[in-house]
Symmetry: C2
Subunit: 399 residues, 2 copies
């Protein structure tokens, strides 16, 4: 019996993509990884969090080790509302919050509950590779719409939606990361957010707004999410991954009332509930610690790392390689001249002791792709500079 | 804009079923809940586990709070192999183990990677409600095959598979809980397991074997899982939920080599990785504590609770209500005379201060259902007796 004969079409569709190969490569000792978007954790109060972890198991074990509710604990849903308030969503109702085991699971649940096989999800070009994988799994057709340095371009978005409507396609939703997008780093200004919301409303398209990086601007205060003013047309996804810990796998969704029940039922059918000790640890961090001070210190450190990387890039890369200094987030998005595909360069770079993610990972469109993404979030400045010393000759030689 | 207009067909298909209503009901104070299969946690060494939790955050926070690998930690995959050895699966290769955030997520991943919309999953009648929800989500058609007190009936299974083949249906897999099944409590003998495996092999059908209760026999040693002798045709699902904690949401899959990569890629696209602190806490419990002593003490307690419930049932229920004393697990499965539907009785019982799960929850087949499930796992003997004092008049009056 050959079990692989039993694979579903959707399993065959999952991309063991460029990016996945890179993450395997990045584990090799001695390599400088500019691939993964891991957060910096050195500022966390680990001793104090350890005491919290002790307490939530030793004193509250009958709660923390037992089954929890599919919607998540009331305490964490309250804490999520505080985080969203800092993002710019005032007065979110904790009854409309569903805790998820990370926002990847939130994307998965949204796709599960909104998309029929063959439907379209409209995505930024480029967009988050993890979202593309999920849409692929659900047999949704990711259709790109162009972006610039301020994210989605409204006029093109309208054209894309109108074209899809003319073609009789059902659009399940628009998936967007308006703040310091992965991978582009783009920050969508407030006026453009309103315009995007208006276009989607006029075209009858729901929005899934993913906001992992909104509070990680290097200088600017957060731009309020689209959900802040357009709550009935947005499923908003927040996460503790970049402001606290990705290991706990805690995110949340703020859901329009008409979709709440279906959201948590879909979630329960996937995993019953998120880890309860993880929920309680995240709750403690967001209620008993100065989490906003931590986030502010993180942003300073990320800015320092970003500067180290961008300065090295400016010093060492051929001027035909283009990139912008992002205003926040974890990534620098760069572009080789047309006609150069960065996918094969990934292997040359790995031989030179550095890994990055080629642009092909961030788009459903196939074919050679001149872009690449460099992550600075997890790498100390001196190591970022060493990484560029290794990477620049590879990239420059490809011109 | 009415967001509910955007729901997918699969979201509409998720059952806010009988069982879900019951779990909501069961939260009311003063009610005796014979509904949920929560494990007994009183025997856990909470003080010591608290110290472990402290340590894994305060000393190993850079590991426990950071992203983990999609396949799970090597340490937990090793520990899972020890648990599987105690189940009767000797020499499992940790490289073929994928840690999942609970075995519900394992069922979900199996369905995701093996089933195309419209395919069939063959299930026991009755079967686990959570699995039915997942199959529904993936637009898989759950088709029942008859069982007796020893689980799946091989001759009927062969007929079912042959009929489906004759009808041109693609069978994604057989889903089975051979040991102390939820809800029936049935234990499939070793010879029948071999026969089921042989039939599936001959008919070219993969097996998803779910084994949460295998070590919770009241008197008998575990019967080795189907996967023990038929590893290439089985995705085996284990879990820490019933031998340690359901709150940590830790399970695992032992996967045939040909399906390994697709399994963890599908899992990653759903949730990236299971909670890392949860994985580390479960690992510690399974390596630094006498977990088998804990499981043995749990089995003694569950036997005591089962006896209290069954004795009360024998004393108070009309003899036309049929049930068997299970040999392990969490549940007593019972049956009213034909023609009586237990779904409306659930509400009468709730008014009398007790909740149970009506049989309709455990089958994809619609229509009146005379069965009901009583869970004894989480309820102390004196409370179980009080529950039956409330429930028996309701049931007897319905005859």
């Amino acid at each position: 019996m050959d079990p692989s004969a039993f694979l579903s079409d959707r399993a065959r569709g999952v991309r063991q993509s460029a990016v996945r190969d890179v993450f395997d490569l990045a584990m090799s000792p001695g390599l400088v990884s500019l691939a993964g978007g891991n957060p910096w954790l050195d500022d966390l109060p680990l001793e104090e969090l350890g005491r919290v972890a002790d307490e939530l198991v030793s004193r509250q074990g009958h709660l923390s080790l037992q089954y929890g509710a599919g919607q998540g604990t009331a305490e964490l849903r309250d804490a999520a509302c505080s985080v969203m308030a800092a993002d710019g969503i005032e007065g979110a109702d904790p009854e409309l919050v569903v805790v998820t085991p990370g926002s990847q699971a939130g994307i998965d649940t949204a796709a599960r509950m909104l998309g029929n096989p063959g439907d379209v999800v409209v995505v930024e070009d480029p967009t988050f590779v993890g979202a593309l994988n999920t849409f692929n799994t659900w047999q949704l057709d990711a259709v790109t719409t162009p972006t610039d340095e301020e994210g989605l371009i409204p006029a093109f978005l309208r054209q894309t939606l109108q074209r899809l409507r003319a073609e009789g396609r059902r659009v399940a939703f628009l998936y967007t990361i308006p703040s310091y997008a992965n991978p582009s780093g783009a920050l969508m200004p407030a006026a453009r957010r309103d315009e995007v919301a208006r276009i989607c409303r006029e075209e009858g398209v729901l929005i899934v707004e993913d906001n992992p990086y909104g509070q990680l601007g290097f200088e600017d205060a957060p731009v309020p999410p689209i959900a802040a003013e357009h709550r009935d047309q947005v499923i908003y996804l927040g996460t503790a991954s970049k402001i606290f810990s990705p290991g706990v796998r805690i995110g949340w969704a703020l859901v329009p009332p008409a979709l709440l029940r279906e959201f948590y039922l879909s979630a329960e059918s996937a995993y019953i509930c998120p880890s309860v000790p993880s929920q309680m640890l995240a709750t403690a961090f967001l209620t008993r610690f100065d989490w906003q001070g931590h986030v502010a210190r993180c942003a300073v450190e990320y800015a320092r790392r970003c500067d180290a990387l961008v300065d090295s890039m400016e010093e060492s890369l051929d001027p035909r390689i283009m990139f912008a200094r992002p205003g926040g987030g974890f990534f620098v998005w760069a572009r080789m001249p047309d006609g150069i595909d960065t996918l094969p360069l990934m292997h040359t770079a790995a031989e030179a002791g550095v890994v990055f993610v080629p642009g092909a990972a961030f788009t459903p469109d196939v074919g050679p792709n001149p872009h690449f993404r460099l992550a600075f979030s997890f790498v100390a400045p001196e190591v970022l500079r060493e990484g560029m010393r290794r990477l620049a000759p590879v990239l420059n030689a490809a011109l």
